[in-house]
């Protein structure tokens, strides 16, 4: 296989290098760079209009970069667009399929274009997602059209899945089923680029995340590191009264009462815990910042 010869496992599976995209005078993306390693689920976050879909459309080769480039499996995404798509499953933000075709006709078309037998996998997915193969797209609800897009993307057994808000329109039960599918796909060696607004989904599934805002990359990190950078909230109850904590380094938002102190620790917890250990602490509660909190902090 041509792709297999050029790509080796030491390379990043996907590299976005200094990507900029202008629409006339409007700069939708500015010097965005990130990489995705094989075998990971990679979260792509940002508010509406941040540039997520523009980045994904550029990765898919629908749009051409104004500057920078994208390589997938070591190949340029524009120059090798057709051969790369043999390895990519894609679910767009708004899947638009042929209204007069049935679910099975879409699968049949894909099987003819891809040249492999995808029917067994597609049938398994249809059963799992409770999708009726005989129904025309125009008879399907938005959620069921989303399911069909997921079936089409996964049935081809891709090496890379690019998902632009794939669970929009799915009920919580199906969302959970889809998450299980993604975890299994990852265990089988697959790689995922997941754009999502659902922070709990990203928190549950993703190893690494990129946050984009106004077309610029503002974070490229892991969920754990992001949470740790944004601190831990500590609530301590002291039997002998609250000591003076104002001289502690790296703490914010300190609120005290005669027996309780609540504060946020930036950086390592170790020095704070050492101080607390010197006092008679009756109860101690340490919580990480949620992604919702972090998002609020970043975007406000």
């Amino acid at each position: 296989m041509r792709i297999g010869l050029e790509y080796n496992s030491l390379m990043n599976l996907l590299e976005v290098n200094g990507l900029s995209k202008k629409f006339g005078s409007v700069e939708a993306l500015h010097n965005v760079s990130f990489t995705i390693e094989a075998g990971h689920i990679f979260g792509f976050l940002g508010p509406n209009g941040a540039g997520k879909s523009t980045t994904i459309r550029t990765i898919m080769g629908f749009l051409h970069p104004s500057a920078g480039n994208v390589t997938i499996f070591g190949l340029d995404s524009i120059a090798h667009s057709v051969e790369l798509k043999e390895k990519i499953g894609y679910v767009p933000a708004e899947p638009v399929l042929y209204q007069d075709w049935t679910v099975d006709e879409h699968i049949g078309f894909l099987a003819n274009v891809r040249g492999g037998d995808i029917h067994a996998k597609a049938n398994e997915l249809k059963k799992l997602l409770e999708l009726d193969g005989g129904k025309k797209v125009k008879q399907l609800s938005t959620g069921n059209q989303q399911k069909l897009a997921i079936v089409l993307a996964l049935a081809i057994a891709p090496e890379l899945l690019i998902l632009d808000e794939p669970t929009r329109g799915l009920d919580p039960l199906l969302r959970s089923t889809f998450h299980k599918l993604l975890r299994q796909y990852k265990l089988d060696g697959g790689t995922v680029l997941l754009s999502s607004h659902d922070l709990s989904e990203v928190e549950d599934l993703c190893d690494k995340i990129v946050i984009i805002h106004n077309g610029k990359l503002i974070q490229d990190t892991t969920v754990t590191r992001l949470r740790s950078n944004h601190g831990h909230k500590i609530k301590a109850h002291f039997v002998d009264g609250t000591p003076d904590l104002t001289k502690l380094k790296d703490i914010d938002d300190l609120v005290t009462t005669p027996h309780t102190a609540v504060f946020t620790v930036r950086g390592s917890l170790q020095p704070v815990l050492e101080i607390l250990a010197k006092h008679n602490v009756e109860d101690l509660e340490i919580t990480s910042a949620s992604l919702e909190d972090i998002f609020e902090e970043i975007y406000t």
């Binding site: 459309r57 080769g61 798509k85």
Partner: protein
């Protein structure tokens, strides 16, 4: 395999368009066939009326001043204008639907996310258009031959085929123009309007050149000048100039469209 799949897909999804326009073309043909006996019986009166009309107008409307046989009559009354108009509307609709409309309603995103080259997609749709145009011509023009036999009318068979071929070349030219605009646009409405406007300008130039002698040179800029059904049927041949003009025009516009579609950015 991919090319065959794409070709089958476009023929299947656009079959209603071909069937509808073929039925309209056939309907008009049957209508003209039905009134032909009464027209034939009054041909002397019609010839007197035609003789009083300006020659330029007769030429502009592709009307000959006699009704010698069925194909001569049909060329004057139907194939010279109505048939060409239906064909133009058909190929404009097709070319707008198969690219620009698919970008507009985003189904193009489904196709382009598959390992399908844009050039292959464009060519499959173009060939689908040629096949569809052939079906339309078959049911709206070539069919007159067996129908005439059925109703015991004398008919010039080769003339029917030559006119069908000329119609195919004419239709191909308009379809190629439509494909060129469609490949550059994301709005089917804009493609139809642009192609229609170019044809309207060409037709206006053709009429003006027929009516005003000082504007005679304008006719060479119009595709309508190169299709003369009466002459094609009478001579059982297509002038070489017509073949060259239609051929070169189709080739150039189709290639410009293909290159544009391959290079353009698509917001799907």
């Amino acid at each position: 395999m991919i090319f065959t799949t794409l070709l089958a897909q476009v023929l299947r999804t656009k079959r209603a368009l071909w069937i509808t326009y073929s039925a309209i073309g056939l309907g008009f043909l049957l209508l003209y066939l039905a009134v032909y006996p009464s027209i034939q019986s009054q041909s002397a009166n019609y010839d007197k009326i035609y003789a009083s009309l300006p020659k330029g107008l007769m030429s502009a409307l592709n009307i000959t001043n006699s009704t010698p046989d069925l194909m001569g009559y049909l060329s004057s009354k139907h194939f010279g204008f109505i048939w060409l108009l239906i064909m133009a509307l058909l190929v404009i609709a097709y070319s707008a639907f198969v690219i620009a409309k698919e970008i507009e309603n985003k189904t193009m995103g489904f196709l382009l996310s598959q390992p399908i080259s844009r050039l292959k997609l464009y060519v499959a749709r173009y060939i689908g258009g040629i096949i569809g145009l052939g079906i339309f011509i078959g049911f709206s023009e070539v069919i007159v031959w067996p129908l005439a036999k059925l109703f015991n009318y004398a008919i010039d068979g080769p003339g029917v085929l030559w006119l069908g071929l000329a119609g195919l070349l004419f239709g191909l030219s308009i379809m190629s123009l439509g494909f060129m605009f469609s490949a550059m646009s994301s709005s089917a409405g804009r493609v139809s309007a642009l192609t229609g406007a170019v044809l309207l300008i060409m037709y206006a130039a053709f009429i003006a050149s027929s009516l005003v002698s000082s504007l005679d040179g304008l006719k060479y800029l119009s595709l309508f000048h190169y299709i003369t059904p009466g002459d094609i049927v009478a001579n059982s041949s297509i002038p070489l100039a017509s073949v060259l003009v239609f051929g070169i025009f189709s080739l150039v516009t189709a290639i410009v469209g293909a290159v544009s579609f391959k290079r353009r950015q698509i917001q799907v």
